[in-house]
Each structure stands twice: as C-alpha cells, then as structure tokens.
C-alpha cells in the first residue's frame, strides 16, 4: 500500500535548532510552523482532515522540546477548521514533564489521548485510548444504525493491568511524584545546561525529567556527523561507565530516568555521561571525524 494512500499528511517538526531559518527568532519560527500547517490544511481541504497527532515532546524522534507558544499557535489553527488534536502521551504522560500530562505543561487542548508506559510504570503491559465525551456521545448515538464498535483485544482491560495501573496512579498521587519529577527535572537541567560548553554538544534539549544532547561535528555551522556511530559510541561508553542512555537518530543522546530518582542519581548521571562524552571526543578526534 503506497504511503500516500494511508491519508497521513506531514507538517514540519517544531525543532528550532535544526529547522529555523537563518536569523529567525523562536517566535517567528513558531508563527511559520503554524502558517505552514494552515496552508497544508487549505491545500488538502479542511473537511477531509480528521485530526493532528502530536507527542507533547517528541520522544524517539529526538526529544524535541517545542519553543514557547508552539501548541497555542497550532491549536488556534486546528480550532479554526474543526480538526481534533490527538495527543500521544505514551512517553510524556504521568509526570515525565513534571506535570500530570504533557498537555498540561504545554497548554495543549486535546480531544483524544493515547497513554501507556508509565500508566503501569511498565510492571505489566496496558494502554488507554481516551476520547472526549462529545466524541463518545456521537459514536454512541449512531451505534443503532452503524452497529457495534467491532474493535478489541483479548487482553483489553486485563484485570492484572487494571489493578496494577490503578495502584501505580495511587502511588503517583500519594507520593506527589509529578512534583518530585519537576524538582528533579530542574536539578537535571541545571547539570545539563553546562554541556553546551562541551566541544561535541550542539544542542541541549530538556524539560522535566526528559532530555537530549545533540552531538555535532562543528558547533558553529551545526554540521552533523554521518550516520549514528558517534551517538552509538557515546551510549556504549556510558554503558561501560554503568549508565544506560539511548542513542537516537541525528546523533542525539536521550535521557529519561525513572521519576523516583534523587539528587545523588542525577549527580551519577552527570558524572558518567560527562566521562562518556569525553571518551567520545577522544574517539572522534582519533578518527578524524571532527
């Protein structure tokens, strides 16, 4: 099946570091992204478009933290044409950004939401697809004519997943873990901020307990390294130091520690990651990649 036939349209990423035009401010960049979205909608026909899907902070795509005001501007365009914001909270949901949901932190107004991962703190597999009451009502009102919503999994609502997720949410709320994540997140950011001075680091991106470093061949020109080998080396070096990080496309190193971490764990991340970066710089220099 050709990709176009899926009915999936693409608009630009909210990645200021990589996607901004020369001299463009963050505000101008956000305005341009909103305008591009509107032009796409008008070109396709607004009444053919159901929804826009977005993670609050794009995770596996590089931990891309949108500039201030991004979702407010996007939301205004979507509202103009009756297009639903479909919020993928699989990574950001349940405290990751220091708030209950990423939507809360970034002022998104979704009518649909996908949750998983921290929903059960990964003790057992479970997910939740959530829709607003007005959408559910339209579906229910039409059911007599359209028939059953013939979708479901053997393990939809498995009692083990439900009991565990329910308990996990109780623990989050009882122990104020979303606020704890915000406090630890600020501490992590205070450590990561100085990484921008490292010769390999082009961008430091972080919000809550989520972060990424982009490793570049030339900081002045933002020249990227080829392939993923530099990030892979750095992740392997961190692993040897006793720290798990994840190399992502674009030679980005992602961090997403458990919400229960304390200051000493952030210190441990900082020390081990810095050593890994220094080893990576040695290797890059020996290889003549920089």
């Amino acid at each position: 099946m050709p990709f176009d036939a899926l009915g999936v349209l693409r608009t630009g990423a909210p990645h200021y570091y990589r996607c901004a035009n020369p001299g463009e401010s963050e505000g101008e960049f956000v305005a341009r992204r909103a305008d591009e979205l509107e032009q796409l909608i008008l070109a396709e026909g607004p009444d053919t478009i159901a929804a826009m899907i977005a993670e609050p902070v794009n995770g596996a795509g590089g931990v891309i933290v949108p500039p201030d005001g991004y979702f407010e501007s996007i939301q205004a365009v979507l509202d103009r044409y009756g297009i639903i914001l479909w919020d993928d909270e699989v990574i950001c949901g349940f405290g990751r950004l220091g708030t209950d949901f990423g939507a809360t932190r970034l002022n998104m107004k979704p009518k649909m939401m996908a949750c998983a991962k921290a929903l059960s703190s990964a003790y057992v597999p479970i997910s939740a697809a959530i829709v607003s009451g007005d959408i559910a009502d339209v579906i229910a009102d039409s059911a007599t004519q359209m028939g059953v919503f013939g979708h479901g999994y053997t393990y939809s609502g498995h009692p083990l997943g439900c009991a565990v997720a329910s308990k996990v949410i109780d623990i989050y709320q009882r122990d104020n873990l979303f606020e704890h994540a915000a406090v630890m997140g600020r501490y992590l950011q205070s450590k990561l901020a100085s990484y921008i001075d490292h010769p390999l680091v082009g961008e430091v991106s972080s919000i809550g307990l989520l972060g990424a470093l982009e490793l570049v061949a030339d900081k002045a020109t933002k020249k990227p390294f080829d392939g993923m080998q530099v990030a892979q080396f750095c992740a392997a070096a961190a692993e040897q130091n006793g720290l798990i990080v994840r190399p992502l496309g674009g030679n980005r190193i992602a961090l997403c520690p458990p919400l229960i971490i304390q200051e000493q764990h952030v210190d441990e991340i900082d020390q081990k990651l810095r050593r890994a970066l220094d080893s990576t710089l040695d290797w890059v220099t020996h290889k003549g990649l920089k």
Binding site: A13, I49, K117, S132, A163, E239, L243, L259
Partner: protein, 196 residues
C-alpha cells in the same frame, strides 16, 4: 554472522588507532537452560547483530547484568519504568489481583471491578472533558484504537470523508505507518467487517 550464546559488552573505549572498541565476550547459555537467545527475532535491532546485554534483575532506578554489574537506568527502560524496579506495593497488588480474578474480558458488556476503577481514575485525571476510556496492551495499539475511533466518528458525524491525519516530520513514523497500514476501515461501516 550470528553468534551462539550470549554476548556481553565487556569493554568499550578508544583504541590508539581510533577504532570503535566495544569488546564482546561470549558466555554460555546455562542461566536460561536452552540456547533460546539464538532463536530470537529482536525488536528494533539489526537482525544480523548479536545480543549485547543480558539484564538479570532490577532494584529502584538500577538494573544489573548477568555478571552483576550495576547500571543506572537513565532511559527508564524504554521511557517507561517511572517507579523503578522491585516496588513491593505493586508486586503485592498484582499478586492479590491474580489470586482474585486472573482474567476477564471486556467484550459484549462484560466488565470487572479493577477495570471500572481504573477507567474512573483516568477519566477524572486527564485534561479531557467527560473522558471515555478504551483499554489495550501497548501505546502503539492505543494509537491504532484512536485511528479506528476517528473513522467511526467521521462516519457517525456525517463526514465520512474526514479521515486524513496530520503528523509531523521527525514524528514516530513507524508507529504512524503501522496505524495506517493495519486499519483500512471502511468509513461507512464499522471495523467488525474487517478481517484483521
């Protein structure tokens, strides 16, 4: 070439010649009892690559490999282990639930207390008005479900043509493509008619 047994990264550093030096040590399969690792197709892994780490146990924010080396889990597994490992309250809850009711499905209006409690909790906490919850197994299938609901909603609201989805560059194209490929739902009907 695929190697038998487990391969563990035991050394990593920069050699004088500048080669990427990650040294793998092959160990035996005794802990698993069978040569099961070589029969595995791994997710999001080069199919010709070999295993790099056997994770044996977890404790708080740490995991331990088979040799006992400790790692701070700076990625919470795959962005997911928010409460860390070995939480006794959760283990106790799981044990109690399995003893009480180890399975019950949700088809045709059947339900059970743990599901109702969870749906009510979620509906009360999400920033969505009068939220309604569909439960599944993984984030990918939650998004698949929403894709189906969107199409059902489009038909139900008299706009069956309204099915396109806007995604973003650098978005999770793999998951989105999966969403699109696996659910070719007739906008006028309901997914019951589709053999999946």
């Amino acid at each position: 070439m695929r190697l038998p047994g487990h391969a563990e990264a035991t050394q990593c550093g920069c050699l004088a010649g500048g080669e990427l030096s990650v040294t793998f040590t092959i160990t035996d399969n005794d802990t698993l009892g069978t040569p099961a690792m070589t029969a595995m197709i791994y997710p999001t892994t080069n199919p010709s690559a070999t295993e790099t780490m056997v994770v044996a146990r977890g404790e708080g924010p740490y995991i331990f490999d088979k040799a006992g080396k400790r790692y701070l889990e700076g990625m919470a597994g795959l962005w997911c282990t928010a409460l860390g490992y070995g939480n006794e309250e959760i283990i106790e809850t799981a044990t109690r639930q399995m003893r009480e009711l180890s399975f019950s499905h949700m088809f045709s209006g059947k339900t059970h207390p743990a599901a109702i409690e969870l749906a009510d909790k979620l509906a009360a906490m999400v920033p969505i008005e009068n939220a309604q919850v569909f439960l599944g197994n993984s984030g990918s299938d939650a998004n698949d479900t929403l894709m189906k609901l969107i199409r059902y909603y489009a038909a139900a609201s008299g706009q069956p043509q309204r099915t396109k989805i806007i995604a973003r560059e650098k978005g999770l194209s793999r998951r989105h493509t999966g969403v699109g490929c696996t659910h070719r739902i007739s906008p006028k009907s309901h997914p019951l008619s589709i053999a999946v």
